[in-house]
């Protein structure tokens, strides 16, 4: 539903002046970071920093980064599993069987926005001591904490797609045609909610790749903590990985945005 707000919108000149001004200011740090990685000590342009980073000539720099990235990717996968296997079915259940609890569930799901990660981590320390004793100190265990961090983001994506389909009718129709709950879930509900599940997964990946607070204070090695460690030895390597990670997250969100755009077009036509 596009609104013809031409009457209240700014004149094209105003629009472009504001856009160009703010856009330019916000581009400065990113362009500077790129230039920073492309300059040698005298300020001449060079690709040395990029080449030396990826030529593995400097294991003290690349090793923590690849280890951190590896851990972050494992965490991203486990967090997505938590979202898909734990959060999504619960949300479907609440929407189908306990619609009266929807408001309470939303409150819980959005709660992590109001509780700073730095506060949660104070209380997570003793809990992770216990987890370390029972499940070991593998990098993946941090995903339990990350599942809560991504909760508000994942909740919004999944709820949006639940609201867009009529779960009740779909379920009742499949049930009266003789499908059992597992069949309903896998062959009817998941395909109908795939856009929300995909969005929730991609956002969760972006959040996990960017998370620093909890990992750092629980002494875990992830991409962001590796960036800080490496930044003290070789600031160029951190700058390069910063650019790559920000670009990756931007492309993830852009893909999400354009996917949603394609869908809403289809619905409208």
């Amino acid at each position: 539903m596009s609104r013809a707000a031409g009457d209240i919108g700014p004149a094209p000149v105003t629009r472009w002046i504001i856009g160009a001004l703010v856009g330019a200011i916000f581009a400065i740090p990113l362009v500077s970071t790129l230039l920073y990685t492309l300059q040698d000590a005298d300020g001449a342009l060079t690709l040395d920093h990029w080449i030396s980073l990826f030529s593995a000539a400097n294991p003290s720099v690349i090793k923590p980064l690849t280890a951190g990235l590896g851990n972050s990717l494992v965490l991203a996968v486990v967090t997505v599993v938590i979202v898909i296997v734990l959060l999504a079915p619960t949300m479907i259940l609440v929407n189908l069987r306990f619609p009266g609890m929807k408001a309470a569930f939303e409150f819980i799901a959005l709660l992590p926005i109001s509780i700073p990660a730095i506060v949660v981590v104070v209380g997570l320390t003793p809990i992770y001591l216990q987890i370390g004793r029972t499940l070991g100190t593998g990098a993946w265990t941090l995903a339990f904490a990350y599942g809560v961090t991504v909760l508000p983001f994942a909740y919004r994506s999944i709820q949006a797609s639940i609201d867009a389909v009529d779960l009740r009718t779909l379920t009742e129709a499949s049930r009266s045609l003789g499908a059992n709950w597992a069949t309903v879930f896998i062959t009817v509900l998941v395909p109908n909610l795939r856009s929300g599940l995909l969005a929730a997964s991609l956002i969760s990946i972006a959040v996990v790749l960017g998370e620093f607070t909890i990992a750092s204070l629980l002494n875990r090695q992830v991409l962001q903590t590796a960036l800080v460690v490496v930044g003290k030895i070789d600031p160029y390597a951190s700058a390069i990985f910063t650019l790559l990670a920000l670009t990756f997250c931007f492309l993830l969100l852009l893909a999400l945005g354009f996917a949603a755009r394609g869908r809403s077009r289809k619905v409208r036509s």
Binding site: S2, R3, A5, G6, I8, P10, V22, F26, I28, P29, S32, T33, Y36, I82, L86, T90, L93, I108, P112, S114, I115, P116, A117, I118, V119, V120, V121, V122, G123, L124, I127, F144, A145, G147, D166, R168, T169, E172, A173, A206, V207, G210, E211, F212, T213, S216, Q224, V228, P235, A245, L246, F250, L253, L256, G257, F258, A260, R261, S264, R265
Partner: protein
């Protein structure tokens, strides 16, 4: 048990045909399905929060005490809370104003158009996933060896560090925080701006009003609660933000989250026990007050967003 929001053109099938007894039993069985998630949230959200807040309330031997809270009266801690407050307030106000200006510039563009989609994605990255990486971008730009620093020094003869390396201290957090506050404002305030109705502007013009009159008497009053709500959210966001500050201000603990880091990593800061818990409690109180105000203002704002 009928759904209150059945979309048009669908038929409610089958519901209500089952025997009541069966429904009750099935219901309790379905209730069991909620258990895993609730246990998970209890373990990893509720428990840590309670432990964090509660750890300030109990002495080492487990007895209840308020003694730890004396730390909140410590001049160092008070100064940290004050630093956090003015930093959050400043970046929330500036971020809200600049963000609102961007929202105005985006007004009238299709929400699914190329520009809005791209701006949304860019804002999402900067506002929600930047953290440590924004600190590195700042160091590469206005650090001692930053590109902009060198350009200003070599080309224009301006030394931005004439008064010392402020980028690694409290003032350095201001540009870094604005770098995620403005995008967050765009994300949170844009829906309210986009909900302004063209019909209101038409009505205003039909009744002989002017464009400026529309903004003065209709646009701004309608948007004011949403603006305030978004600004409160920005304040809470800055107040609880840790990653950017931790990567930028590697020494010292000028703001509350950094003070918590110090309290967690060194046992006897200021010779006080449970300092991390007490600080966490203080943070929760501040954020709690701000979020309650947010909820109240948001309720007022929601009147116009239907």
């Amino acid at each position: 048990m009928t759904s209150t929001a059945v979309p048009n053109g669908t038929l409610p099938v089958g519901s209500g045909l089952r025997a009541p007894g069966r429904r009750v039993r099935r219901s309790s069985l379905a209730g069991l399905g909620l258990a895993p998630f609730l246990v998970y949230v209890a373990l990893f959200l509720v428990a840590p929060t309670i432990i964090a807040i509660g750890s300030g309330l109990f002495a080492k031997d487990g007895s209840f005490t308020l003694a730890s809270f004396a730390a909140l009266g410590d001049p160092v801690i008070l100064a940290t809370f004050w630093n956090s407050t003015w930093l959050s307030l400043l970046t929330a106000v500036v971020g809200a104003l600049v963000g609102a200006l961007v929202c105005y510039a985006l007004l009238g563009l299709s929400p699914t158009g190329f520009v809005r989609t791209t701006v949304d994605a860019a804002c999402g990255v900067l506002a929600q996933f930047g953290g440590v990486m924004l600190a590195f971008a700042m160091i590469a730009t206005i650090g001692i060896q930053g590109v902009l620093t060198r350009f200003l020094r070599d080309a224009l003869g301006i030394d931005i560090f004439a008064d010392g390396a402020w980028i690694y201290a409290l003032p350095g957090l201001i540009p870094a925080y604005l770098y995620f506050q403005v995008p967050l404002m765009v994300i949170t305030f844009m829906p309210a701006v986009a909900a302004l109705r063209a019909s209101w502007a038409e009505a205003n013009l039909t009744l002989g009003g002017t464009r400026a009159g529309f903004w003065l008497h209709v646009g701004l009053p309608v948007l004011a609660p949403s603006f305030l709500a978004s600004a409160l959210l920005l304040f809470a966001n800055a107040f609880s933000s840790y990653a950017t500050a931790a990567a930028l201000a590697s020494q010292g603990s000028q703001i509350v989250p950094l003070q918590i880091r110090t309290a967690l990593t060194s046992e006897t800061l200021l010779g006080r026990e449970n300092l991390a818990g007490v600080l966490a409690f203080g943070m929760i109180v501040v954020i709690g007050v701000v979020m309650c105000a947010y909820a109240l203002v948001q309720r007022r704002a929601a009147r116009w967003q239907r």
